[in-house]
Amino acid sequence: MITRRRLLEGASAAAALAGSGLPPLAEAAGLDLPPALPHGLRAAAVLESLPGKKPLIKLSYRPPNYETPIEYFRTAITPNDAFFVRYHLADIPAADASVLDPKTWKLAVGGEGANTEFTLGLDELKQMPAAEVVAVNQCSGNRRGLFVPHVAGVEWGYGAMGCARWKGARLKDVLDKAGIKKEAIEIVFNGADGPAVDKTPDFIKSIPVWKAMEETTLIAYEMNGAPLPHLNGFPARIIVPGWTGTYWMKHVISIKAVTKPESGFWMNPAYRIPIGKFPIVARFLTQENAANTPITEMVVNSLITSHADGATVNAEAVDLGGIAWDGGYGIQSVEVSTDGGRAWNAATLGQDIGRYAFRTFSFRVPAHARGKLTVMARATNKIGQSQTAELIANPAGYHHNVMHRVTLIVA
């Protein structure tokens, strides 16, 4: 949380900068942005509220890309009004547009890989058996801004993610209603948002049939017990637990079963990772080629959220806390190092609220001599995967799971 005192300090710092003729830094607005982010981002990012949202870190207005401040990740569930916002294309239907109106919204189901085609209204979707899953929605490019060397794109810090309890109809039930032919290989989603220029490829995504048929892959209409916020996909979005946010189609209006790989820009060349660089189990084989493959499940990761980098603590014990998550295998352990990664000590894991969810952790650092104290966290999942010490370079800046490091000032 931004304290009143820090806001006041920020205001006076901003005034001082204004007097000096220098551009106001994001820090002046009370933002603790990592110094590794591009200077241009740190100078331009501001805390701003979108309609219905708390102040989030604005990276771009149009399309809107706003990340969640780290303070909101002290609990396993991210509040709807603090949940990050990410769009590729700028033509987003207004909250009161008929295409998003629960009374007139229509979901078209079909495709050449389905036996029948039909449309569903929101009431009809809600009449189907409901399922719930607590799952992390994380942008593929979360932490892209921390890549060295920098990678062009939306320069996210740590907050292009959130965890919510999603409720909706199972995608499987809707597909079963349509009847999926044995030749069908992918399920293709389209949403009501679109590009500013006709020639820009519409944002269309596909997932393999096997992932679409999983029990927890949903067409969600509720998030943490409330309707989805407008800018998180109202009135319904696809939930693909374990996989990065690119597949979680917002404002979904079309679901097609297809017998050929979806070939649009957003499947290829976009959202690709080099073959063999990451420890990925879930593969999307109908989209794979010799050089690269679609990003699929999230890599294991963790984040220290109790203290900001550079925070001052007293010499008594320091109670650290944070969250860990992965692609759905579940968190086995989180360890903390206070000596730069030589010795590691087990943290205490919080309640397990599901294998796709954030798992909280806590760790008490014993009393420490004055000066700098660097703490690091490292999560390991239940199939033995752990975080990396060195960044794994890749062209689009995905899957950043370098161990998080926070330096505290012991005073």
Binding site: A90, D91, V154
Partner: protein, 103 residues
């Protein structure tokens, strides 16, 4: 298309870039204008880049791109995203971005 048409009309009408940006908005009535560095080429950046996205994309991707990377980004906008940017404007934009938001 609506946004671009409005942007082009605004350009033809000789309106200021700030007005153009506000008019070009498809979705965000509360978008604040982004003040990029005033220098030759800024008008082309605002008219072309600003038709599809806010100009904070340029700020946040700076100053690390060199001339080749900015050229690749503008090329991506034209080839992958179908931005109707003339070769002449693209050259001016590349020069502006490299000089003021590049390395």
């Amino acid at each position: 298309m609506r946004a671009l048409t409005i942007a082009l009309l605004a350009t033809l009408a000789g309106l200021t870039p700030a007005v153009l940006m506000l008019e070009a908005l498809p979705a965000r009535a509360d978008e604040k204008p982004i003040a990029l560095k005033k220098a030759p080429g800024l008008d082309k950046v605002e008219a072309n880049c600003g038709a599809c996205h806010s100009l904070d994309y340029i700020q946040m991707n700076s100053p690390f791109p060199n001339a080749a990377l900015w050229d690749a980004e503008v090329g991506k906008m034209i080839k992958a995203f179908g931005a109707p940017i003339s070769d002449a404007d693209a050259a001016v934009i590349n020069d502006y971005l490299t000089k003021h938001y590049g390395s």
